[in-house]
């Protein structure tokens, strides 16, 4: 244990309600001690639920644990509390870059770079994401770019929809109950035709087969099922024991990004179901 952590631990022990938890958890995170870091960050977050830095810290730990969907949500919370939070813009920029969405990544990294013009590393990151394009002379848009898919199809989600505010809501995320009835979200085919109801009806059968295959082949509990189709890619998972969710993307997107997107949808669905129940 370094002197630093020892000293910070002593301070934290002496006064657990102080803000020293931010420094201690960050020091532990940097040393790769993610479990104690997480414990301390969560206890701090309980005391200071409206402190942007506490959410930022928690998001960094989640990102280190590769729980990118939850990390995204935490940084999103930070930006709601503090729209000019550099760490949150950097974090979200990193996640978008990782998910293969360079335009979104570029927007957030540029916001961060403008907030902290002295950060050379950040400037280098912006230039790398821009891929050699001239970037600094182009004015920064006032809001993040809108994706093509979002403008392409389908009606806006209804009020009370679990995926309101999530990219692709109303066309690329569908939540279904165990009887194959649509709970929320919608799926649209290319051209905008709504295929939600017919898709919902056959989801339960796939879930049942996935469960059976994983059980009988002794693969443990199944996590998700991805389908790479000629027209779309799809990812199926179960946000709760009695619901299933299908997320779709255009086939050009990386497969890893699809699972990430579906997990984000599942998280929204869980929160929505909890509220609804």
């Amino acid at each position: 244990m370094t002197e630093d952590i020892r000293a910070l631990s002593a301070q934290y022990a002496a006064d657990p309600s102080s803000l020293v938890f931010l420094r201690l958890a960050e020091a532990l995170r940097q040393r790769g001690q993610l479990e104690p870091a997480l414990k301390i960050a969560l206890s701090g977050l309980n005391r200071y639920p409206h402190l942007p830095d506490a959410h930022d810290l928690y998001a960094r730990i989640l990102a280190d644990r590769r729980d990118y969907a939850s990390a995204f949500d935490e940084w999103d919370t930070v930006l709601r509390l503090a729209p000019h939070h550099i760490g949150a813009h950097k974090g979200i920029g990193f996640l978008y870059y990782r998910a293969g969405e360079p335009e979104h990544a570029l927007y957030h990294l540029r916001v961060a770079a403008e907030l902290d013009p002295g950060d050379e590393g950040l400037r280098a990151a912006v230039e790398r994401v821009a891929g050699g394009r001239e970037i600094w002379d182009v004015p920064l848009p006032v809001s993040p770019p809108v994706r093509d898919a979002e403008t392409r199809v389908a009606p806006a989600p209804a009020a009370g929809d679990p995926f309101t505010g999530v990219e692709g809501a109303g066309q690329r995320l569908l939540l279904v109950d165990r009887d194959g009835l649509r709970l929320g979200g919608a799926l649209a085919a290319h051209g905008g035709r709504d295929v939600s109801e017919e898709t919902a009806a056959s989801l339960a059968g796939v879930v049942q087969e996935a469960e059976r295959a994983a059980r009988l082949l002794e693969l443990g509990e199944w996590d998700h099922l991805t389908i790479e189709g000629t027209a779309l890619s799809a990812c199926l998972l179960c946000p709760t024991a009695d619901t299933s969710l299908l997320a779709t993307m255009d086939p050009g997107h990386p497969v890893g990004q699809l699972a990430f997107y579906a997990e984000r949808g599942a998280k929204e669905a869980r929160a929505w179901l909890e509220r609804a129940r």
């Binding site: 017919e198 295959a213 994983a214 693969l219 099922l225 189709g229 000629t230 779309l232 779709t248």
Partner: protein, 116 residues
């Protein structure tokens, strides 16, 4: 094992983490050719993979996903991977945890194309 299938299955099972690979008749879920490590049972693997593929094909048609090229069931302790190959044939593999899935996926897509 038929020569036509022996080489593709061997090249797949040489990849790290693959516990078994097989060619399966899609319509009845029976084994056409297999290359399995000890402990992996071919009959259930073929049957379950074919049933899952049938359900996925039905879902894909309804959800306008198009024809499935690759299906990946990710579970806690491993994965079941299915690539429809020639008409009525499926290339199936079962893999353990922490395997190079990207590489396996590419190899299966390549072999499925070759079988077709």
């Amino acid at each position: 094992m038929t020569d036509a299938y022996a080489a593709p299955l061997d090249s797949l099972t040489r990849l790290r983490g693959i516990r078994g690979a097989m060619v399966v008749a899609a319509q009845d879920g029976l084994v056409v050719a297999e290359s399995l490590m000890g402990g992996v049972k071919g009959t259930p693997l073929a049957a379950l993979a074919a049933n899952l593929a049938a359900r996925v094909i039905e879902l894909s048609a309804r959800a306008a996903v198009g024809e499935p090229r690759f299906v990946h069931l990710q579970a806690q302790d491993g994965s079941l991977l299915v690539a429809p190959a020639a008409e009525e044939l499926l290339l199936v593999a079962v893999a353990g945890r922490d395997v190079p899935l990207g590489l396996i996926r590419l190899e299966m897509l390549r072999l499925a194309e070759r079988l077709a």
